[in-house]
Subunit: 349 residues, 2 copies
């Protein structure tokens, strides 16, 4: 979901960007206007997220899934150790790719026993100080499971897949070695991946790392070693301006917390709906819920969609329902869902 | 450049795609509407390009530059032989990446002696029958140099970077093992890369090939192993429909040939402008030209831009001017350039 204001502005200038008479998709990415726009996007991202001076911001292609492979390529040699937490399908994919890239992976905690409805308790695992990095997934979109804390990894660089939580609340970038995030949740259209990497982790890529994923090569070229996803960069800039105007990440955090709290409160008060996730691990972004009559799941999703409430089917691997309430979802949208759920319960319970 | 009709249609439905009340950027890529749209895009591409049944069409991220690495990863083992032609900077980058990926590269012809204003004569080189593949760049955008023929590689698979010529005229896909092309010239916005690969070349990826670039994994998932660049896929579908409606690739070819012929004829008739490229190697897409007073190059570009004729500076590595007249450039645009060039000559010669 994208902010309506942003989409309307994008539509209004899709055929004439900044009075150029051209679409932003048509101007040269090496021209001064686009270079300035890309620099402004980076500057806004740094400002909004509070990215410290000693971090680089990279705009890459291939999605967060591409980074599952690119991170080992950039940070490790074959045979190096890496520590992971497994809290669901996205963690598992990152682990699989790290092994594919020849790492000696230790999974410090795996939440299989709870069917991935929990996060490991703070302090319940210890990161190997000889590991090249420690990876976790702060929010699992499928299970709707989220960490309430940033793990302590000693001095080992923390690598985090923030695809579904970036820009959703303030974060302390300085705690991380690498943050990466596909843009399509809170940052705009798919096809753009943001990587924020601490300077000391740049410049160690394996010899066969593809140039378009080599952090050093991309840092040195301002992410323009090849043609970047220009439309995505443009739209990210607009979204960051929208976030800033709305009060920045503190305001986003308050707003997102209130949205999630309203929905979980309704579910908890209901005798018809339940949320399977541990209280300390409930996602602000992806609220999963089950109904007492699971045979009505398809009916629920279809009737909700007819009422303008879309994308509510749970992931095919877990069933049930899932409401993804990213930044662009207004509080009114969450209230409309709650009203629909209450009505559905009255009609079907 | 994008067709005006396509951009206007995209703008009109940017906030409401197919009556969904949402942007195409907001709908789930796993939803039936988007899956149908992506399938329609592939179907249109197959129809318009005449892609044979025994070829797969993949929609990837990372640009053609990503494929410089992904092709060796998918087609070869380290140490395998590959043959290349070097006709300019794009060839050179592909060669460099192939060497980075550990291939034993032989450059069968290098046009350095002509400062990359020529293509090797047909029959002047012989592809090693033990090479894993033969690579060439049918059109070099920087030099404005283009092959007038498809090389004979014996039975060795031909791999071709068609970034700047795809959809510009009919091509015989069956002559190639792999065609790859960044979308941003003739197929829409940057961030999407089309790969057309013969089935027998799928399934041989090296063990550490990133999943998002593994031809087999992407073929088996209909290019949706991860979130694809949804807006790019949508726009490519619209552009393909525009190409089809305009008469398909035969009509594009006639139109592009006429545009290029008009511009080259004007340059050849002029005593002020020259084109440095060999007659048999002149690009239909990128027409380079020099003026008798190179000290006026910046003036030319600035005055042209003020007259609405943009992006005319030659690449920084070669200087001079370059008119990129891709599919979406109408004949009237080329005529406007010719008129401007004639006027500039009158004022400055």
């Amino acid at each position: 979901m994208l902010p309506t204001d942003v989409l309307e502005a994008a539509a209004s200038e899709l055929t004439d960007w900044q009075g150029s008479g051209m679409s932003v998709m048509e101007v040269s990415h090496r021209g001064k206007d686009f270079v300035a726009a890309a620099a402004e996007t980076e500057s806004l991202l740094r400002e909004v997220m509070g990215v410290p001076q000693d971090y680089r911001v990279l705009f890459l292609q291939g999605g967060a899934s591409g980074q599952f492979d690119a991170i080992p390529m950039n940070l490790t040699a074959v045979g190096d150790k890496a520590n992971f937490l497994n809290t669901g399908q996205w963690s598992a994919k990152a682990i699989k790719a790290a092994r594919t890239q020849g790492l000696d992976v230790t999974v410090l905690a795996d939440e299989a026993a709870s069917n991935y409805t929990t996060t490991p308790a703070q302090g319940s695992f210890t990161v190997d100080p000889t590991a090249a990095y420690f990876h976790y997934t702060p929010n699992e979109t499928i299970g709707g499971v989220e960490f309430g804390y940033v793990p302590d990894a000693g001095g080992v660089p923390i690598v985090a897949d923030l695809s579904s939580t970036i820009l959703s609340r303030p974060i302390d970038v300085s705690k991380y070695g690498v943050i990466y995030a596909g843009a399509q949740k809170n940052m705009g259209p798919s096809g753009l991946c943001v990587v924020v990497v601490r300077n000391d982790l740049v410049g160690h890529a394996r010899p066969r790392t593809p140039a378009v994923w080599d952090y050093k090569a991309m840092a040195e070229s301002d992410s323009m070693l090849n043609t970047p996803p220009t439309f995505g960069l443009y739209l990210l800039g607009r979204i960051l301006a929208w976030v800033k105007d709305a009060g920045g990440l503190p305001a986003m955090g308050e707003r997102n917390h209130a949205k999630a709290a309203a929905l979980y409160s309704f579910i908890d008060a209901s005798e018809y709906y339940t949320n399977p996730v541990a209280l300390d691990s409930r996602s602000w972004m992806n609220v999963t819920f089950l109904q007492a009559k699971p045979e009505l799941d398809k009916t629920f999703v279809a009737q909700a969609s007819a009422a303008g409430l879309t994308n509510l089917a749970g992931h095919r691997s877990v069933g049930g329902m899932r409401a993804s309430i990213y930044n662009a979802m207004p509080a009114e949208g969450v209230q409309a869902l709650i009203d629909f759920m209450a009505d559905f319960e009255r009609r079907n319970a």
